[in-house]
């Protein structure tokens, strides 16, 4: 019997009870399909004998993943494909903390996919697995995930990512960004990593926001304000914080700033970002200064 078969046989009663208890309206066939196409290959490809905790963590991943769309009902989802393909690289870290690592991978994938789409999320997972060997323990993998999330366009993770990068080896930084250091100066946030030349003039970088009817966040044309040294945009009903740099631009709900934003004066410049709004547009034009000649 394979490693997976042995483990599944030993834990059959426990897994059946878990499915009966937590499976809800999940189709048994869907769960069996997940076990067959995802769990079994991962466990069979394990270097050595996988611990029961790995099986349990994978099973839990399937129970929730099948309901949330992370895992496919009949066919493997993009996440599953990436996980199976990258499991050997991730296995040492999964073995250290199975539940934590698998939950982090699944949630991270979902959050990146929600913000940037499934292809970017799959690329995030691939990149994470590609550099997993450089991580001594699960916490380091999660740190790497933050940095890769930022690189994938989650601009709100900039400060957290820079904090993590400060602790990375130059070789890892170079492998991730093509340059051994990252300039944390907010004024140079739109420059490519490693660029050291003078800044050019302010130029359009991205457009964010939009009308609620077309999937945007604003009911009315927003105004840019600065609250607590942070750049926010408000339409009077909702207030969102603008995060933007060379990797992306995002508006993130900022309920904490809503009250203050209603009384603050219009001001669209903060920490190297310029938010340009117009009375007849629900969009926010983000401007910034790249390195000269970029």
């Amino acid at each position: 019997m394979s490693g997976a078969s042995t483990l599944l046989a030993a834990w059959r009663d426990e897994l059946n009870a878990r499915f009966a208890r937590d499976g809800g309206d999940l189709a048994p066939d869907a769960m069996l399909g997940f076990l067959r196409r995802t769990v079994v290959p991962i466990l069979d490809g394990w270097d050595g004998e996988p611990a029961p905790a790995v099986l349990i963590a994978l099973f839990e991943l399937g129970l929730v993943g099948l309901r949330t769309g992370l895992c496919g009902a009949a066919e493997p989802g993009r996440f599953e494909q990436a996980l199976v393909a990258r499991a050997p690289a991730l296995a040492p870290l999964i073995a250290r903390a199975p539940g934590l690592v698998l939950r982090a991978l699944g949630n991270g994938y979902l959050n990146v996919a929600r913000a940037r789409g499934p292809e970017v999320a799959a690329a995030w997972l691939d990149a994470l697995a590609a550099s997993a060997a450089r991580c001594a323990e699960p916490g380091a993998l999660l740190d790497l995930g933050i940095v890769l999330g930022w690189r994938a366009g989650l601009a709100e993770a900039r400060d957290a990512a820079l904090d993590r990068i400060a602790r990375f080896e130059p070789a890892l930084i170079a492998a991730l960004f093509g340059a051994p250091t990252i300039d944390a100066d907010p004024e140079r946030r739109f420059c490519r990593p490693g660029a050291t030349g003078p800044l050019g003039p302010a130029a359009p970088i991205a457009t964010v926001g939009g009308f609620v009817g077309f999937g945007g966040p604003f009911h009315r044309p927003p105004r840019a304000r600065v609250v607590a040294d942070r750049l926010v945009c408000t339409d009077g009903d909702v207030t969102l914080e603008l995060h933007a740099d060379v990797f992306g631009a995002r508006l993130v709900p900022a309920a904490w700033a809503h009250a203050a934003a209603q009384t603050a004066a219009d001001h669209g410049t903060c920490a190297g970002m310029i938010a340009a709004t117009a009375a007849d547009s629900h969009q926010v034009l983000v401007l910034g200064r790249r390195e000269a000649g970029a």
């Binding site: 208890r21 937590d22 903390a97 698998l102 939950r103 949630n107 999660l142 400060d159």
Partner: protein
């Protein structure tokens, strides 16, 4: 009531209001339907947070203990008066806990001695075993490590045996080699049904428990600091053998297994159907390493206990030792005098008034008991994420620490009242009432603002150096004035008894100093 055994509660498990606008929380990336993940490396997770995660894992996945008898409130709670006795039910507004799980966990953190009492099948051994697993031992090691009390248990069963070869060849006792039992070196020690151990073996156990070493054939084994868990079915210390008093006295905290709430029968069914035991599924994230256990204990000891709260605890503790009929010399007017003399307490027929807290006990509090109160109050505050002990921490922890320490005088007038009669059995409730009443008295006397004896002690603590005779005379007069006020007050209570002795102490110290001043003046 769905469950996922491997899931550890997400930090912060005891959230508190944070100041300033929120920054991006890196946990946001890993938050989602699969269960939230704390992205900090294990060593970066504060130990109090990790212990709270361990607590929630145990209550959510391991021990069915749907009770919140350690109640905390941060806003006026909804209360209800139920039943014929109008029992007050409070719905706590702040995070509250089950004593049955939390106190053994705190015991792991402070490495003291915890007695789990309750009928068979209440999970006493299970929770003790879980704590061993949380300390990093495997289920197999814990199985080997548990000492099961039984009437034939010998000292050799408990401690180990001399190796036969060395026993034959040894020419001196030093040469005898002992095969020490493995459990002696463990950081978690479990003695199951300790009241079934024969008296002689109990004495050997006492040495290990109290002095942290074992001795056989003149050989000594030094045990590492450990958290102890003892179980007993009978609260009264019965069982096959009477537990020797010294052993009982070493127990720091007593936790009672509460009944099984039949509304949670379904969870039992789940356990049966899964065929798995929680001991097999302890998440690695909540397992503590040896250095972490050491650090946890150090952090707890560093928790600050504010002076006003300490004063309140002093006032409470002072209520119990004083026993006026015990002697004609004030220093000997204590319950300890009666006990040491071997005179039955009942001989004195002093029932005291219902308001006299001291009349409700047959003993006072030992230094060991008071030390334990301080340690566990700090541990509870630390567990709740505070670096300073609060009033509620003390109020909640005292009943469990003093459960076996305060021996109830069941004939006291206090228990005659119908509404107080249940406290003869409900020791936790009774001790809480004792503390509440002591606090009421403390507030009535305004001791936070007006504490002349405390001030006199503080003045003395500033030192005698350079004090002239006139000042000393003034202070002596002040001490005598205070004693005169006590004299005029009539009845002596426990807290006044300690005040009187403190005043006498100060008087003697100042008197000696004055004598020295005079002698020095005469010689110069």
């Amino acid at each position: 009531m769905t469950k996922r055994h491997a899931q550890v509660s997400q930090a912060p498990t005891n959230p508190r209001a944070a100041g300033g606008p929120p920054r991006f929380d890196v946990a946001d990336l890993y938050r989602g339907p699969l269960g939230d993940v704390d992205p900090r490396p294990p060593e970066a997770v504060p130990l109090d947070e990790k212990l709270r995660q361990a607590y929630f894992w145990v209550v959510n996945h391991a021990i069915i203990s749907p009770f919140y008898d350690l109640e905390f409130v941060d806003a006026p709670p909804a209360t209800f008066s139920l039943g014929e006795h109008q029992t007050r039910v409070v719905l706590p507004t702040a995070q509250s806990y089950s004593s049955y799980v939390l106190l053994p966990l705190l015991n792991l953190a402070v490495r003291r001695r915890c007695l789990l009492i309750g009928g068979p099948g209440r999970g006493k051994t299970v929770i003790a075993t879980l704590l061993g697993l949380l300390a990093g031992y495997s289920p197999r090691e814990m199985k080997q490590g548990i000492q099961h009390g039984q009437p034939q248990m010998t000292i050799a069963d408990l401690l180990g045996n001399p190796l036969p070869s060395s026993l034959v060849n040894a020419t001196t006792m030093d040469e005898v080699k002992i095969a020490w039992r493995k459990w002696l070196g463990m950081r978690v020690k479990i003695i199951d049904e300790y009241n079934r151990i024969p008296t002689r073996t109990q004495s050997a156990l006492l040495t290990v428990m109290a002095d942290e070493y074992a001795e056989l054939y003149d050989q000594v084994y030094e045990c590492p600091p450990a958290a102890w868990y003892l179980t007993a079915n009978d609260d009264a210390g019965g069982g096959t053998y009477q537990v020797i008093e010294a052993l009982r006295d070493r127990i720091d905290v007593v936790v009672k297994a509460l009944h099984f709430n039949t509304r949670f029968f379904g969870e039992l069914l789940e356990r049966v159907e899964s065929g798995q035991r929680p001991e097999d599924l302890v998440p690695p994230e909540i397992v503590f390493t040896g250095p972490e256990l050491d650090r946890m204990e150090r952090e707890i000891r560093a928790v600050h206990l504010p002076a006003p709260l300490l004063r309140r605890m002093e006032f409470f503790a002072a209520q119990f030792e004083f026993f006026e009929p015990a002697g004609r010399t004030i220093e000997y007017q204590t319950k300890d005098t009666v006990k040491v003399a071997g005179v039955p307490f009942e001989t004195f027929a002093a029932r005291g008034s219902a308001d006299d807290l001291g009349a409700q006990t047959k003993n006072g509090l030992s230094v060991r008991a008071l030390t334990t109160c301080l340690i566990f109050a700090k541990a509870l505050a630390w567990f709740r994420g505070s670096r300073e002990v609060g009033f509620d921490d003390v109020r909640q922890i005292l009943p469990f620490v003093l459960h076996d320490k305060l021996v109830q005088q069941r004939d006291a007038a206090f228990f005659d009242a119908a509404e107080h009669a249940p406290y003869r059995a409900d020791l936790v409730g009774w001790i809480r009432v004792l503390f509440d009443r002591a606090c009421e008295e403390y507030d009535r006397l305004g001791r936070d603002r007006d504490d002349p004896v405390g001030e006199a002690l503080a003045t003395f603590d500033r030192g005698l150096e350079g004090l002239d005779a006139a000042t000393v005379d003034e202070r002596l007069a002040g001490l005598e004035r205070r004693l005169r006020e006590v004299e005029q007050g009539g009845k002596l209570y426990g807290h006044l008894f300690d005040d009187v002795l403190a005043l006498k102490y100060l008087h003697q110290r100042y008197t000696n100093y004055r004598a020295w001043l005079r002698a020095r003046g005469a010689s110069t």
